[in-house]
């Protein structure tokens, strides 16, 4: 039971990091990324190959031997950071391809295509990340039994989550954050006011891809293995659904979605009778989330925990902004953003 809770704590916290990043691009900026989980996967793979060192000689030698690039033995924090930066670099490429188009569905389609390309390469190019077999025996960051290790990783993940929430908070609660919400509500209005929409989209996409990469790195040092089966397109859809149900545009909704909708529901289905759980639990859970997604969008589009910015606006308008701009969007001046008229309809 203790292990059950610790497992939930680690997975939930790591998922929450992904969700805070996803919320920046989906909930705040209104960009649809249907392959967000591929960035998690890139982070996990890169963390593994930069920290695992050489595959043990003689062990599983021959055709079964693990093959992967780099084979570095860096300390784990650097490995996780490399994972984050690699994911951010991939994110930069993806967003640069799509950002020239205004239609939000173009980004959605291209992200799916990119997801398939990443998946197919990881699955087929064996020297890269050991192909379909995937990487296994990724070393723990400290040699200790399961339960203390889960506790340790919960702590580390909570620190990372706090850092991500801080970054997200500083962006969302700045004049640049107002620009992002304007892009979400009406991209034409944002352009009309002379905001550099494309730069904002690129920066946000790269930041949230970085967060996904970090989450992937933490995930792989906990679970110790990773294969292409771990990042099907469904995973990204589930993250978006959980975010919508939890509440978009604020990290509490993202965190609630991570713990309750994704990890909580997954752990709960384990309690079902074995006969049902073996075949029907996964599809039933996905159907439940799909139905929840539609019902929430229809009857409570702001999610369980709504975006709370609205009530601060009258006060903000009355007094000069005390908060310096974060400087994400050059050319943005405080106070003139039309984002002050939000309707949480996304």
């Amino acid at each position: 039971m203790i292990y059950f809770l610790l497992d939930l704590a680690v997975l939930g916290t790591v998922t929450a990091i992904m969700m805070v990043g996803l919320d920046l691009q989906y909930g705040t900026t209104g960009m649809i990324d249907f392959t967000y989980y591929s960035f998690v996967a890139i982070g996990a793979y890169m963390t593994a190959v930069t920290t695992m060192g050489h595959p043990p000689a003689g062990f599983n030698a021959g055709p079964l031997a693990e093959q992967y690039i780099l084979q570095w033995s860096l300390p784990w924090p650097i490995g996780i950071l490399i994972g984050g930066f690699t994911a951010a670099a991939l994110g930069l490429i993806v967003v640069l391809v799509t950002v020239r188009r205004l239609r939000s569905d173009y980004l959605a389609i291209v992200t799916i295509a990119v997801g398939y390309i990443v998946y197919t390469i990881a699955n087929n190019v064996i020297p890269l990340f050991d192909g379909a077999n995937g990487l296994f025996d990724v070393p723990q960051i400290a040699q200790m039994p399961t339960e203390p290790y889960a506790t340790l990783l919960t702590g580390i993940s909570l620190v990372a989550l706090a850092a991500c929430v801080f970054v997200s908070y500083r962006i969302v609660h700045s004049p640049a954050g107002r620009v992002l919400r304007t892009i979400r509500e009406d991209i034409i209005v944002a352009r009309t006011f002379g905001k550099n929409v494309q730069l904002a989209q690129v920066v946000i996409f790269v930041i949230s891809s970085f967060m996904a990469g970090i989450a992937g790195g933490l995930l792989i040092v906990y679970v110790g293995a990773w294969s292409p089966l771990a990042f099907t397109p469904t995973e990204s859809f589930l993250l978006i659904a959980a975010l919508v149900i939890g509440g978009t545009g604020n990290y509490w909704g993202a965190i609630l979605g991570a713990f309750v909708i994704l990890e909580g529901l997954a752990e709960f289905t384990r309690l079902l009778p074995q006969s049902i759980a073996a075949t029907a639990a996964g599809p039933l859970r996905a159907m439940l989330i799909g139905a929840g997604l539609i019902l929430f969008l229809r009857f409570r589009p702001q999610g369980i925990l709504p975006e709370t910015l609205l009530k601060f606006y009258p006060r903000r308008a009355a007094m000069p902004s005390s908060e310096p701009p974060v400087g994400v969007i050059p050319g943005d001046s405080p106070g003139d953003s039309p984002g002050a008229a939000p309707s949480a309809k996304s």
Binding site: L102, A108, V110, T120, A286, I289, R298
Partner: protein, 294 residues
């Protein structure tokens, strides 16, 4: 030797293109009228194919009768989905962005529902596709030929319907400008429902043709095909039926021909690489469509 292999590849590509075109035209027609993408289209294609499995294997119907009934059933499913799921969102003024996510929810439900009902196994229709034979330079089975003929007939029928019937004209008018169509006295609700029904019929035929082309029906088959269909639509320019057809031809033949030289597993990537190149170099598609900004 090389040339004959190439021609064989083009032959396979024509079949693949016919299958893609059925889906691409069905999805593109609905997209041009409602102006939002139906991300559940691939899973609904599979649902139609599974309907036909039940009619064909469960109720022992003739394959072609089963396919006809399956197409009608899926057309009804599309209309019901529009009335009860999507139309309320459109009426409440939801944006393209929201509708996109709604159709993802539908995709979840349909995909996992079919998995629950029909299970993870593969199915085969009781239809004999015949032995491969040489037709000119191509090597095709009679089943392949039937797919091409049916696709051609359906696309031609749709084109005639759009050009020469009153309803078809109303549909084109609605696609062009909903408000103007409504002001001209067109019952746009009816037109949208008809569009969904046509889209559903094409989806079912596309799903069945895909299962016949790949010799069996598996879960996620339609979902994976969806991306190829998107590639074809974007390639041809969003909202153009002829463009979708042309895009399907390019993607189908390019995939089949490169599939001869690439190791297996990579072949269907070609479509996505083409898609990304088109977005980079000619984002309005091969046939330039009208600019639609949401």
């Amino acid at each position: 030797m090389f040339a004959s292999t190439l021609l064989e590849g083009i032959g396979f590509g024509l079949v693949a293109a016919a299958v893609i075109a059925l889906g691409a035209v069905g999805l593109s027609l609905q997209l041009s009228v409602t102006n939002y993408i139906n991300f559940a289209f691939g899973d609904l294609m599979s649902l139609g194919a599974y309907f036909v499995i039940t009619f064909n294997l469960g109720l022992h119907m003739n394959f072609y009768l089963a396919a006809l009934l399956g197409a009608v059933a899926l057309g009804i499913v599309f209309v019901v989905m529009n009335i009860f799921v999507l139309r309320p969102f459109v009426r409440s003024g939801a944006r393209v962005f929201t509708l996109l996510v709604v159709t993802i929810g539908v995709s979840f439900i349909v995909q996992n529902g079919t998995l629950l009902i029909w299970g993870p196994g593969a199915y085969q229709y009781t239809v004999n596709v015949g032995d491969a034979m040489h037709i000119g330079p191509f090597v095709l089975t009679p089943g392949d030929l039937i797919i091409i003929v049916i696709a051609f007939a359906l696309l031609l029928g749709l084109q005639l319907f759009l050009q020469f019937t009153k309803l078809g004209k109303a549909l084109r008018a609605t696609s062009n400008n909903v408000d103007l169509a409504m002001a001209s006295g067109i019952n746009t609700d009816l037109v949208v429902n008809v569009t969904w029904a046509i889209s559903g019929i094409f989806a079912a035929v596309a799903g069945v043709a895909l299962a016949v082309e790949q010799n069996n029906l598996r879960p996620l088959q339609g979902f994976n095909q969806l991306l190829v269909i998107f590639a074809a639509i974007i390639l041809g320019g969003i909202g153009r039926q002829m463009g979708a057809l042309l895009g399907a031809l390019v993607i189908g033949i390019a995939t089949a021909v490169t599939g001869l030289f690439l190791p297996s597993g990579y072949d269907f990537l070609v479509g996505f690489v083409i898609l990304i190149l088109v977005l980079l170099l000619r984002p309005q598609g091969i046939l330039a469509g009208r600019e639609v900004v949401d």
